[in-house]
């Protein structure tokens, strides 16, 4: 829970650009946030909103070129990850910061057994001998609910179902007891019943292990179920950030409101037509000097074309970057 404990991860003004043939794309524009120990931070936004790129920038996972992190700092374990050399980064990645990707098939090597792949981080990061690593690998598979764990160590990824593969990937990410786990749409490729299994598993693992988790998703329903705090991204910026209940009960940014409204709710009355957000996100060939959402926003006014709104605190722990005040329905005087 967000209290005044030292953050495990502190990100300030991070900027990431991609050099392309058509020009420089400003994918992440001055993103700052911090992650408390044991907290689950949900990151929501459409494709191209910069949510994955932000998280990959933190630990140098973006291919350079074309990507380049041009500014900011990432404080983790008293070092700045953006200034860390390859060796320092290697000691952090996969050990202190675990990563789970969307598609379990592409994050597993198809020609190696899952036993080998699970033991690899244990042997490189923890310096375990083969026998110890094997014992730990079995423990990890048990932990993520893999039946008959010992025998399955010698199986290859294609012998597992999608849900089981994702469990293997989660086990790998947990192998070295990370302080932070970054999960990039880990359930998007899975069926709803399997997604429900994985969500239960993550809740359970959090209780047992107590690591902080960053959960990237475009599914507000998933976030509502597991996150403590939610960060909404648009155009490479954080547009709103609040504790989960507060965000859903009192969404303030027009984009967040639209996102919540476009999801049909099977528990509620069926509307005649679904609410939509017309248009598409624009591609940022320059650092945004105005609000990126203004072209799709119903409340945009003259000031939105001139200035880019900064994140401001409206209530306790609720941050929003918008010149329009949702409480009064009028422009804000700040």
């Amino acid at each position: 829970m967000p209290e005044n404990r030292p953050a495990v991860l502190d990100v300030k003004n991070i900027e990431t650009v991609f050099n392309t043939r058509r020009g420089t794309i400003h994918a992440v524009n001055s993103v700052s946030f911090s992650l408390q120990p044991g907290e689950l931070l949900g990151v929501v936004g459409e494709s191209g909103s910069g949510k994955s790129v932000t998280m990959m920038s933190l630990i140098g996972l973006l291919p350079t070129p074309p990507a380049r992190v041009t500014g900011g700092y990432v404080k983790f374990d008293n070092i700045d990850l953006l200034k860390a050399d390859a060796q320092q980064l290697r000691a952090v990645r996969g050990a202190k910061i675990g990563f789970i990707f969307q598609d379990p098939m592409t994050s597993l090597n198809p020609v190696l057994t899952i036993g080998f792949q699970l033991m690899e981080p244990l042997r490189t990061h923890m310096g375990m001998k083969k026998a110890a690593a094997k014992k730990r690998a079995v423990e990890l598979l048990d932990l993520v609910g893999m039946p008959d764990a010992e025998r399955r160590l010698s199986d290859f990824p294609h012998q597992f179902s999608g849900g089981m593969r994702q469990r293997v990937v989660i086990a790998m990410a947990l192998a070295c007891d990370p302080k932070v786990l970054i999960a990039d749409e880990p359930t998007t490729a899975l069926d709803v019943t399997i997604q429900a299994q994985i969500l239960e598993l993550v809740k359970d693992l959090r209780r047992k292990l107590g690591m902080a988790i960053i959960w990237i998703t475009h599914d507000l329903g998933v976030v509502a179920g597991i996150a403590d705090r939610v960060m909404v991204m648009y155009g490479g910026q954080i547009v709103e950030q609040a504790p989960v209940r507060e965000l859903f009960e009192n969404p303030q940014h027009p984009y967040t409101r639209a996102l919540i409204e476009t999801v049909p709710d099977i528990g509620a009355e069926r509307p005649e037509r679904l609410r939509t957000v017309e248009g598409q996100p624009s591609i940022l060939y320059a650092r945004p000097s105005a609000c990126s959402f203004r072209t799709r926003c119903a409340h945009a006014f003259e000031r939105c074309n001139r200035e880019n709104p900064a994140l401001l605190v409206t209530e306790k722990a609720h941050h929003v970057a918008c010149f329009w005040d949702s409480a009064t329905g009028e422009p804000r005087n700040v």
């Binding site: 069926d191 399997i194 099977i266």
Partner: protein
């Protein structure tokens, strides 16, 4: 409901679609993948029948088999008064204009080397003999209908976003004034805000052209919005078929109940009041389905008989079908 009086536009009876497994030196036929195993359903004119289920349950195969993209193993399909199940593929061409399909992946279903006018115009070239002016006029009409700018006609698929590409696919499906369209996961590759746009478009087109949809999806909240009746599939069989409100308000089959409870709740306030049924394990292989009820391996309510005898589909109320032993006993008692 007016459906009961209207004649069905599509009626499927005892449809089976088996894919043979060949093995060994002589590629002997050693078994079958029973993708669709004896299903029957009717789709009435002007309605949308939702078909839901997890990956691998055979829902897409039902869609493809209904349009006779496969030579079916057994059963009969009647579309608009014509029994299409035994017609050979060459003669089927005459009937193709009446039945069309919208595919899941708008990237994969559009030829990257053809421009929009050629993609949308191809069905016209194949089935009609129009003059150049007539053809162009029809293409423009179709682009207007799906909300694409006429000036896009000379562009290529890669120049469009996912939502726009799906619109091109829809325009192509509409080109020959079909009566019946199979929508095979038309929105699952799109972003949430774009999904709502496409669903609204499909509903508008249905009203305008009197279309009948078979809407295949794994997204229950979208099916709740668009469908009039819903069929739930599990491992090649329909386990429950009911009107939308019946199915979502009081699901009868244990699988439907589990599936609905797995849908993430986008309202954190209601989160805690929901009963979560988390199914154990994965869907069994359709090449060797379990003895008895297909769902017995994962069913939280399975009783002895479920492991021995396959449940018959029974009509619980008029127009409401389910296949479960537990329901048989309750109807007998009642």
């Amino acid at each position: 409901m007016s459906e009961t009086s209207a004649a069905p536009l599509v009626s499927i009876e005892g449809l089976k679609m088996y894919f043979p497994i060949h093995a060994g030196l002589f590629r002997r036929h050693v078994g079958d993948i029973k993708a669709v195993d004896d299903i029957s359903l009717e789709i009435f004119e002007g309605e949308t029948l939702g078909l839901v289920g997890e990956s691998g349950c055979g829902k897409s195969t039902v869609g493809r088999a209904t349009l006779r993209l496969y030579d079916i193993t057994a059963g009969s399909i009647t579309i608009d008064g014509t029994n299409t199940s035994k017609i050979n593929q060459a003669d089927l061409r005459r009937f193709r204009p009446r039945m069309q399909m919208i595919f899941q992946d708008p990237q994969g279903s559009l030829n990257p080397r053809m421009n929009v006018a050629d993609i949308v115009g191809e069905p016209l070239d194949e089935h009609m003999s129009l003059s150049r002016e007539e053809r162009l006029a029809r293409i423009h009409e179709l682009l207007d209908a799906v909300g694409l700018n006429r000036s896009f006609a000379n562009r290529y698929p890669h120049e469009f976003s996912g939502g726009q590409r799906q619109r091109i696919g829809i325009a192509r499906a509409l080109a020959l004034n079909p009566k019946f369209i199979v929508c095979d996961e038309p929105i699952s590759a799109l972003d949430v805000s774009i999904q709502a746009q496409v669903v609204n478009l499909l509903e508008d087109l249905q009203k305008k052209f009197g279309l009948t949809y078979l809407f295949i999806s794994h997204d229950l909240s979208m099916v709740h919005h668009i469908a009039d009746r819903v069929a739930v599939m599990y491992l090649g069989k329909i386990v429950e078929l009911a009107s939308r409100d019946q199915l979502f308000n009081s699901p009868l089959h244990p699988y439907t109940q589990a599936l609905l409870s797995a849908v993430p709740e986008p309202n954190p306030a209601r989160q805690n009041t929901r009963v979560h049924i988390v199914l154990k394990g994965d869907v069994p292989s359709p090449s060797s389905p379990p003895v008895g009820c297909n769902f017995c391996t994962r069913c939280p309510k399975a009783i002895d008989i479920c492991h021995h005898v396959e449940p018959a589909t029974i009509e619980i109320e008029p127009g409401r079908f389910a296949a479960c032993h537990l329901l048989e006993s309750t109807t007998k008692v009642a």
